[in-house]
């Protein structure tokens, strides 16, 4: 199939950007969206032009690196898939596809379609961890965990931190990401030791990073490639209420 691409080009974080239009031809419907970009970039290199910078790594939907906002939707038109899992059969011959980077002040553009998502790393560093004893690993079955909790924790842990929730949210809120990370640990006994501070510290860091606040619109849930449920946000709110009211420290 032959396609027209309108892609955001931006030199660096300081400079402004604009859309460039490209034509690609003979694209197989079995290609992934990123493979189509590879074809385009090879074409640009052959023509002596600068290729388009975009993030990618595993190309199997688990690393969370790919981050394209395609035709008005993070990760494109398919539900529950990352950009790398999106196949060209989702489009028709002759289509014009508009590709933008994630838009949020907390995710500044590094170049073209690449944004700096290190804010997520700092949120994780603020509380997305557990304490474990050193020495030999204990027996896997030593801590009983109800199946329901294990399933919910696993579903929350599926978050790959791609930032599609921030890209989709009208407030650029990171709360779906944060709630998945908090829920994952709050549902398991291993997360008990930091339970009192985790939500408070991570939310404080999120606010410092400049994300907006959640207004429960549900746009994040609709675009999440890992289908993280918005009920995690309610759980996070509950964790915040419990920890914030019970906390005995004056400063945080």
């Amino acid at each position: 199939m032959n396609l027209t691409l309108k892609v955001w080009k931006q030199k660096n974080a300081e400079s402004g950007g604009k859309f460039e239009t490209y034509k690609v031809s003979n694209i197989s419907s079995e290609m992934s969206f990123l493979e189509m970009f590879d074809v385009l970039n090879e074409q640009l290199i052959r023509e002596g032009k600068e290729p388009i910078a975009f993030d990618h790594d595993c190309r199997e939907g688990i690393c969370g690196m790919c981050s394209m906002y395609i035709n008005g939707r993070p990760h494109g038109p398919w539900h529950g898939t990352t950009t790398c899992q999106l196949h060209m059969r989702a489009f028709k011959d002759g289509d014009t596809i508009v590709v933008e980077p994630w838009r949020a002040k907390a995710f500044p553009v590094v170049k073209d379609l690449i944004v700096d998502r290190s804010a997520f790393d700092r949120i994780i560093q603020a509380g997305g961890y557990i304490s474990v004893n050193t020495g030999n690993a204990q027996d896997g079955n030593a801590i009983p965990i109800p199946k329901e909790n294990a399933d919910k924790a696993f579903a929350a842990a599926a978050c790959i931190g791609c930032g599609a929730c921030v890209a989709a949210c009208k407030n650029s809120s990171a709360l779906l990401f944060l709630s998945a990370k908090v829920s994952h640990l709050a549902l398991l006994p291993q997360g008990e030791a930091e339970k009192k501070d985790r939500a408070l510290n991570m939310i404080a860091q999120m606010d410092r990073e400049g994300f907006g606040s959640c207004t429960n619109t549900g746009a994040c849930e609709a675009v999440c490639p890992k289908e993280i449920e918005i009920t995690n946000i309610a759980r996070l709110n509950g964790e915040y209420l419990g920890a914030g009211l019970a906390s005995d420290t004056r400063k945080h």
Partner: protein, 241 residues
């Protein structure tokens, strides 16, 4: 974490919005319930007595102060949040997401809130200010029989004729009715999202209850807003005298 930190983080601000919102939701039940007394169709005896009760007893008056404080909190916090959230995107998208994944009213809570605020100012200056600070006609109701009687009748008590004011406004000025209907429509869409959103903000995660909360929110919004919309129309169309 001290109190000010608790209420001023991004989640804390939402909690303030949710708690004040739930207080206002409860207030609307009382407001609609009292106003429903107009449908007794007794010339305003029951309604004016109810309004007199709310205006003269200590508990409703104290709650009224609380109501104004919660209104101010909800309005100011709402404006602050809306402005802060709007500033977080930076460069906007060329292709918008639109309705994919979220309802229009959930995204328009700030604008709907602003429309309700305009309506609220009109509404308070129409009825609340005259009823508290004078400007309403007197009505005399006989204590024993409950009938409207002329001034000076022995055993009669004087009431503000708020009912008469409603009747006057809603029969003489059709454009006031249009403002009221539009104000309540904005309120309806604000409530449909706000009701369930406030419970989510307070940590309701249970799948079993979320359906119930959403359903209750829709039923509540329909009943309350339908009642408010029918009030001006009832006067205008002559359903009540």
């Amino acid at each position: 974490m001290n109190w000010s930190q608790f209420f001023t983080s991004s989640v804390g601000k939402k909690i303030t919005m949710a708690l004040s919102g739930i207080f206002l939701i409860l207030f609307l039940i009382v407001h609609a319930g009292l106003n429903a007394c107009i449908w007794a169709n007794d010339g305003g005896v029951m309604f004016n007595k109810a309004a007199h009760f709310m205006g003269s007893m200590v508990v409703p008056r104290v709650l009224e102060i609380g109501l104004f404080l919660f209104f101010l909190l909800h309005i100011i916090q709402g404006i602050v949040l809306e402005l802060q959230n709007r500033s977080k995107r930076g460069v906007g998208y060329a292709v918008k997401m639109g309705n994919r994944g979220s309802t229009w009213n959930s995204r328009a809570m700030g604008i709907l809130g602003a429309l309700i605020l305009i309506f609220l100012v009109i509404h308070i200056s129409d009825f609340w200010i005259p009823s508290r600070f004078g400007g309403l006609q007197p009505m005399f109701i006989d204590n024993a029989s409950g009938q409207i009687v002329p001034e000076g009748t022995p055993g009669a008590k004087e009431y503000h004729d708020l009912y008469g004011e409603m009747k006057y406004q809603f029969t003489e000025y059709p454009w006031i009715i249009i403002i009221y209907e539009l104000g309540v429509i904005a309120l309806f869409w604000h409530l449909v999202h706000g009701f369930q959103s406030s419970f989510r903000t307070l940590g309701l995660t249970n799948h079993k209850y979320i359906g119930l909360i959403k359903g209750t929110g829709v039923v509540y919004s329909v009943i309350i807003c339908l009642a408010f919309m029918l009030m001006p129309l009832s006067f205008y169309l002559g359903w009540i005298q």
